[in-house]
């Protein structure tokens, strides 16, 4: 089995494992992260004016995308050398963005894949493409529609870190999520 297929299978299995968790576990984790629950959009029932916070889930608005305390404002997934596997530590981030797309069917994004500077520029365009597609595939499994996400690559052309050492290379092995209009 080639590497891409293996990675896809692993991602699929991890996504399935995630789905198997109970909703309350996920919501709990989300609350710890952000202090705000994520859930399907629903009506907000009227409550007596007690000054207490509403107990039902609220849909996430576009402001959340820029809110530093919201996971949706984090946009970068980092990869190991020679890898396009989305590591466990980035699953909550990818999941949050996938849910956002699912809840906002008119919203679109671009995922920009990058590679470190070593090697041929065109081969690095293809490596970056693999990374952006790995993130897109994970989001599709989590409910986003494929036409909501255009995965592209910058290869080594737009590095965030300018050094020539492992620290810089690690920073540049990255896929970035950019919403339409940003």
């Amino acid at each position: 089995m080639n590497r891409l297929l293996t990675a896809t299978v692993i991602v699929f299995l991890l996504a399935l494992a995630g789905c198997a968790a109970t909703p309350s576990e996920q919501a709990g984790a989300a609350v710890e992260d952000r202090g705000k629950p994520v859930g399907p959009p629903g009506p907000v029932p009227a409550k007596p004016d007690t000054g207490a916070k509403p107990l039902v889930d609220k849909p996430i608005g576009a402001a959340a995308l820029k809110d530093p305390s919201n996971i949706l404002s984090r946009r970068s997934v980092y990869f190991d050398f020679d890898s396009n596997l989305v590591k466990d530590e980035f699953r909550p981030l990818v999941t949050a963005h996938a849910r956002y797309l699912q809840q906002n069917p008119g919203t679109k994004m671009r995922i920009e894949g990058n590679a470190d500077e070593r090697g041929s520029r065109e081969y690095n365009i293809a490596l970056g493409q693999r990374r952006s597609e790995a993130v897109k595939q994970m989001m599709q499994l989590l409910g986003a529609r494929p036409d909501q996400i255009e995965s592209v690559s910058f290869g080594e052309e737009k590095p965030r870190a300018m050094g020539h050492d492992e620290a810089a290379w690690a920073e540049n092995r990255r896929a970035d999520i950019v919403y339409q209009g940003e």
């Binding site: 041929s120 081969y123 255009e150």
Partner: protein
């Protein structure tokens, strides 16, 4: 780009020692690239933007003296310094001192051969420049063999003032071909990318670095420039739309159009020898796969590779029948070949775990590529029949190798003390040149074809 000089017409000069009427034979009807005369798109025409220094020379260097031509002194563009510089830069010639004689020889009968023999010259270049009534110039030269005291070559050209530099390159080409047997590339051009701060410029310059013109500029990266086989267009990749898109630009009109802007990434353009097709890498169906498209962007892409691996960097053979490309379908990036009609790909590189960026030699018998070994990326050449590999460079990060149209030199990008520079190496590894741009980092070179 601003008009490149119409190629000057040359006619052979018969050796004067032959007793018969001197016939002006119109030897080459050089095709007039009329399009080059049209006033064009951008930009600045610079002095030598690229400075070229010789780092290594050939195993043997032919000693040749280039004597200033008669009446050359008053011209804005002297011809003999360009000829001498071209020959020296090739690494195959050593220029012999041509001064200190009064009067200077300009015609064969002026030559005092023992003097030149004593100076160590094997050949002498002499010539004249005469203004014509229409404002143009008659430029004629003869290449004389010092020991046999005979003419080896001689041509006469009619050239405008703007064409004098190109005429000098043509003369250097004739000298080079006469003495080495291979066609000269002094009249060719090179394309490359310069990064100055945040700005990217696609530039085209003469092979000696002069006359650099910016044909496209952007605040987003430009990469992978490649010449159409007739030298009239460049294809390249630009990220200005926040994704890689393939463009084709006319060098005569300056107009450009996106020829591949499909869903996802579009990159790695390569021209078929007839200029009608571009091989490109598209991710529209997922991954990075090779497709053929019409070079004007018409019609639908035809998919050529069908793997879930990375297939990229396509390159056509000179006869148009084969395509080399980079693929990691076997687990690591290696070079494969397949017929352009489609079908099975065969792996061709077997040394090491990283072989990329294949480019055919002009005679189709070998290809240059980048091989990673011990953490370094170097330029190598592999013979397609014997599979023998020769590594030609010893930099740390060498990339983007491109053959000169005579197959004798390979131009590539490298880094010296943190700066992006171009380098050229002869196919036997001996002659080395370094090309630097004072204002920025240079990368992604592409050697253009012979001018028409």
């Amino acid at each position: 780009m601003s008009p490149r000089s119409d190629t000057p017409k040359g006619r052979r000069l018969m050796p004067t020692a032959i007793i018969r009427p001197m016939k002006m034979i119109r030897l080459q009807r050089l095709v007039c690239a009329v399009a080059f005369l049209l006033p064009l798109a951008p930009l600045s025409s610079a002095r030598a933007a690229l400075t070229i220094e010789i780092i290594g020379s050939g195993a043997t260097q032919f000693p040749v003296a280039v004597v200033p031509f008669r009446a050359e002194g008053g011209l804005a563009q002297p011809v003999t310094p360009v000829i001498a510089s071209d020959l020296a830069r090739s690494g195959l010639f050593r220029t012999v001192d041509s001064g200190g004689l009064n009067p200077l020889p300009h015609e064969p009968q002026d030559l005092n051969y023992p003097v030149w023999r004593a100076r160590g010259a094997d050949a002498v270049v002499i010539g004249t420049i005469s203004p014509l009534s229409d404002g143009r110039y008659d430029v004629r030269f003869r290449l004389m063999d010092v020991s046999k005291q005979t003419q080896l070559a001689g041509f006469a050209y009619t050239a405008s003032a703007a064409q004098l530099r190109l005429t000098a390159h043509r003369i250097a080409d004739v000298i080079y071909e006469t003495l080495t047997g291979a066609k000269g590339v002094f009249s060719t051009r090179v394309a490359y990318i310069v990064k100055k701060g945040k700005r990217y410029e696609l530039q085209v310059a003469d092979a000696d670095g002069y006359g650099a013109q910016t044909v496209r500029w952007s605040d987003e990266p430009i990469l992978s420039p490649t010449w159409s086989p007739d030298g009239s267009r460049l294809a390249y990749v630009s990220l200005e739309r926040k994704k890689p898109v393939v463009y084709v630009q006319s060098l005569t009109t300056g107009k450009y159009q996106a020829v591949a802007n499909y869903w996802g990434s579009n990159s790695a353009p390569a021209w078929s020898p007839d200029g009608k097709i571009l091989a490109v890498v598209l991710s529209k169906e997922g991954g990075s796969q090779i497709y053929f498209i019409n070079s004007e962007g018409k019609g639908e892409p035809r998919r050529m590779t069908f793997t879930s691996a990375i297939d990229t960097e396509p390159n056509f053979s000179p006869d148009g029948s084969l395509m080399l490309f980079t693929s990691d379908r076997g687990g690591s990036p290696q070079i494969y070949g397949m017929p352009v009609t489609g079908g099975e790909a065969r792996r061709v590189t077997f040394e090491g775990s990283y072989n990329v960026s294949p480019r055919f030699s002009p005679d189709g018998k070998s290809f240059t590529f980048i091989q990673r070994s011990g953490g370094r990326f170097n330029v190598a050449v592999q013979d397609l029949t014997t599979r023998q590999v020769q590594v030609l460079t010893d930099g740390v990060i060498d990339e983007s190798p491109s053959f000169a149209p005579n197959g004798r030199m390979i131009l590539y990008a490298t880094e010296v003390r943190g700066r992006g520079v171009l380098s050229a190496v002869s196919s036997d590894g001996r002659v080395k040149q370094r090309l630097t741009e004072e204002a920025g980092d240079v990368r992604e070179p592409a050697w253009g074809p012979y001018p028409k």
